[in-house]
Symmetry: D2
Subunit: 155 residues, 4 copies
């Protein structure tokens, strides 16, 4: 368990990573939705320029992959930051956390239709070198649209 004051710090860092620091996340309109010790949820809104084809009217697969990759990367990043902060309390040094995607798999289960979407991510493995996160994309009717797994360099 982290204290509430720490969560606010991490939540704010998450907002910065998604906001002015990350141009492509802004194009997609990704925003922080929820965060606790276990997971991160991002949200974004349907727009006409995020669809794959005017014939189908559903999210482009690349938008889905992007939102899942970002959610997975962020849960790994914030977890590494949390760990670094804990070490810093002892070691008086806080190495800045980062994340790089090594690989990503996305399974597209249903057409990405809806008004609002939530990309949820949680950690499956948090090693010293490598972290693995699992992700899900739901629409505003809570239909599961896609799932993903990402492997990230951590620390």
């Amino acid at each position: 368990m982290t204290e509430p004051s720490e969560d606010i710090e991490l939540y704010t860092i998450g907002e910065k990573v998604l906001g002015e620091r990350s141009p492509f996340s802004q194009i997609l309109g990704l925003k922080m939705d929820f965060m606790d010790d276990e997971m991160v949820c991002l949200k974004f809104t349907m727009r006409n320029d995020l669809i794959a084809s005017i014939d189908v009217g559903a999210l482009h697969g690349g938008v889905i992959a992007s939102s899942l990759d970002m959610a997975g990367g962020l849960v790994v990043f914030l977890n590494a930051f949390r760990q670094a902060r804990l070490r810093a309390l002892k070691n008086k040094s806080c190495k800045p956390a980062r994340f790089d995607t090594i690989d990503l798999r996305v399974d597209y289960l249903r057409p990405g239709r809806g008004n609002q979407f939530t990309a949820k991510a949680w950690i499956l493995r948090a090693g010293k070198k490598v972290a693995v996160a699992r992700m899900e994309l739901h629409n505003d009717e809570n239909r599961l649209i896609a799932v993903g797994t990402g492997t990230y360099l951590s620390g």
Copy 2:
């Protein structure tokens, strides 16, 4: 072997799929670069809003995934269209081709730095129900930035 006149027809269809029919492909700036019976190459140009982070200055992983998914889907789509056209010559009926991504894996090998990028895709398996394509992303110094594999509903 298809005749040159047929290639022009398919190339034009590819341009339409990427152009006015596909809003998100336009956001990424994806354009047809090259096409033959074996493969499709798309190209796009670096822009400030396609980067992952202003600290790193490389393509967002989602942009890479999107361009590879689009190249893989297009090579499957055009191949299905080519097959349908051949059947139509015999059957006098040409069912319109489509593609849906079932799943996608992307391996990120190097930071996506460069001025211009090429996403190449070719078919590994072209079944009646399912097609599998392999993809590569190179920058303008011909460095291999990412590879991917996509599974698509075909026909």
Copy 3:
């Protein structure tokens, strides 16, 4: 909900698929453990010839992949059989079900140590052409050793 008598029929089919019909499943010692409308669980026992390396003493990654692939394929197969049976009641024809793996992803989370292992699979997507299953491998201390996702030709 299926009736208990139907479950027994499917369970017996599962045992046959794993048993005398499937030589490599017998090498691994895979057996039916549990089945309901939602999932299939297979079990197998550690043996000295299933380990990756005598230095490490944990399951070979290929054994893990094999058990997950088999569990995923079986849940797809039994679901297709269930659907075919329902159609047969109406159509008086029951096309035999089959499954072929299109692709498989496995994420190895922890060394495969333990005495007994359970491979659980459930369906994420059950389309007419393609089914997607998710899988997990636990040891007898209920530690999550690996997760997987498989895409299968169905019907």
Copy 4:
């Protein structure tokens, strides 16, 4: 370029890793076939107990996954060993190399029919923490049966 005498040392190490050190590789009958600075090829022979189903008579998907995982792991392992040996010449210390699979994707392209199979692996990315290898399985008629990608902890 490594000298011939070094290749013989690495080849022998590869044989040991596949041989008495790795019980499951022996079950599959995996043997070294070829090795150079770029790649590793393993070979194995069809046997009745490696098939998926007596109805189909083709290799079990798990056998294919296992052979690809082993080839990918081995090319990473031998590359790390080669690097460690080069460093040892300067540093007078040679940390033993190891490999652990982080994740594996296999795409099954054709039924695994044939008398003899070759699993080829080469490195896509060789980082300090993580290596990525690509793999292919061919039969003795040089038909491409499956492709794979593996991510491994290196060093």
